[in-house]
């Protein structure tokens, strides 16, 4: 519960200082993770799903939410290639499912992915196959985003006279 509430507090702070002001100014905000991360992780830790959703009811619903889906082995390989040690909470070690960090990561993140799959339908997340190359993914992301954002000249300039 404290894990969930601390993240919500952090999120509320960022929402009010970093997300809402630029939105009011008409800017595009790119959020690296959003409330969906909390929905997936907290539910995996045994927190009531509906409670977490209600907790985050103060969040702004994104105009577009991308979910980069990747099999557990691919994500493990990528992490292990970059660094030697998995983070304690990232591997869900606090749950005590396994004393082996890699095994714990596999169990925990596997459950997190199951939760994300529920969210795809519930919140209409756009799924991006993240097993592909960076270029492939970026092309896909750009095409999805360009469908949502019309970068016409008119919108890029302020309509108020100086």
């Amino acid at each position: 519960m404290t894990f969930s509430l601390l993240h919500a507090t952090d999120f509320a702070d960022r929402l009010l200082y970093k997300i809402i002001p630029p939105l009011k100014a008409g800017m595009i905000v790119l959020a690296d993770r959003y409330a969906y991360t909390a929905f997936a992780r907290d539910a995996t830790r045994g927190v009531d799903r509906q409670w977490v959703r209600e907790l985050y009811s103060f969040a702004v619903r994104p105009d577009l939410a991308l979910y980069f889906r990747v099999p557990i082995d691919v994500s493990l390989d990528r992490l292990m290639a970059r660094r030697v040690k998995l983070k304690f909470y990232e591997a869900g070690m606090d749950l005590g499912w396994s004393s082996n960090p890699v095994e714990s990561f596999r169990l925990f993140q596997g459950r997190v992915l199951d939760e994300y799959d529920r969210l795809v339908d519930e919140f209409g997340l756009e799924v991006v196959n993240a097993s592909g190359s960076i270029t492939e993914q970026q092309r896909l992301v750009r095409s999805v985003i360009s469908r949502h954002v019309q970068t016409t000249g008119a919108e890029m300039t302020d309509d108020e006279p100086l």
Binding site: M1, T2, L5, L6, A8, T9, A12, D13, L16, Y17, A35, R45, G46, V47, D48, Q50, W51, R53, E54, L55, Y56, S57, F58, A59, V60, R61, D121, E122, F123, G124
Partner: protein, 259 residues
């Protein structure tokens, strides 16, 4: 941000069907608490109403009677206390983060202090409870339904004593004891620079918030303007009646209650 496919679910918890010793709302699924032998007694009231004094006296009395007693108090969690102090001293705290920090502190004490103590059969005396959070957040205009859903993980106390006082008495007590402080005066609400006026109007709002919760959460309202020992007598009488109820069919030879 609730699910779009999910029609606005009725606010969970709080209203109606409160069962002492169980969660108000959705609770904590990984911590089932049914059947725990301990008792949770909350003492509520605004700043300077004499809660802490009453709890000390209540504790001594209960311990002499042979009960194991655990105390817990607002923002006293080891995890959150330093953070809350730090956040209060900076100017970055807003209404929402304020509420969430309090909720985190409460969740920590619930999981680490209150639930284990109830499981072990202690009497838990809570100096303030979620009603403090609901009153403070309510006075700051936070959505009531959201607050009740947020605190749906709280346990309904077996007894809630609300030490009730009027603003005039409260002001004198606080000034005699230690003076008015920034947060207790609701200076963050920026109603004006005059701390006295701010204190008066903020505490008035808090008293209204508490009063509005009295029925909803089954408060036992205690007139806190009386002398300390009179208040204590009343608390003890009610606690005793709850912890050691006299059997209905008690013969007239039953020994008189002694203190």
């Amino acid at each position: 941000m609730t699910s779009p496919s999910d029609p606005a679910a009725p606010p969970e918890g709080a209203n109606g069907g409160i069962q002492p010793g169980l969660y108000y709302g959705r609770g904590i699924p990984y911590l089932p608490i049914e059947g725990y032998p301990g008792k949770l007694i909350a003492i509520e009231g605004t700043d300077g109403v004499g809660r802490t004094t009453q709890i000390q006296l209540l504790r001594e009395w209960l311990e002499v009677k042979g009960y194991g007693v655990v105390e817990t108090g607002w923002t006293r969690s080891p995890l959150m206390q330093p953070t809350i102090e730090l956040a209060k001293s900076s100017n970055t705290l807003n209404k929402l983060t304020f509420v969430l920090l309090y909720a985190t502190d409460f969740a920590d004490r619930l999981e680490k202090e209150i639930i284990p103590a109830l499981k072990a059969g202690f009497v838990v005396l809570s100096d303030r409870y979620i009603f403090t959070a609901l009153a403070r957040a309510g006075a700051r205009g936070i959505d009531r339904a959201w607050l009740r859903s947020l605190y749906g993980f709280a346990i309904a106390p077996h007894l809630v004593f609300y030490l009730n006082v009027d603003v005039k008495t409260l002001i004198r007590r606080v000034l005699e004891a230690r003076g008015m402080d920034f947060w207790e005066s609701g200076m963050d609400l920026k109603t004006g620079d005059d701390i006295y006026e701010s204190f008066r109007s903020y505490q008035n709002r808090l008293l209204k918030e508490y009063a509005s919760m009295a029925d909803e959460f089954h408060f036992r309202v205690v007139d806190a303007r009386r002398p300390i020992d009179r208040i204590q007598d009343e608390l003890r009488r009610q606690v005793e009646a709850f912890l050691e109820p006299v059997p209905e069919k008690a013969p007239e030879t039953a020994p008189a209650l002694t203190r």
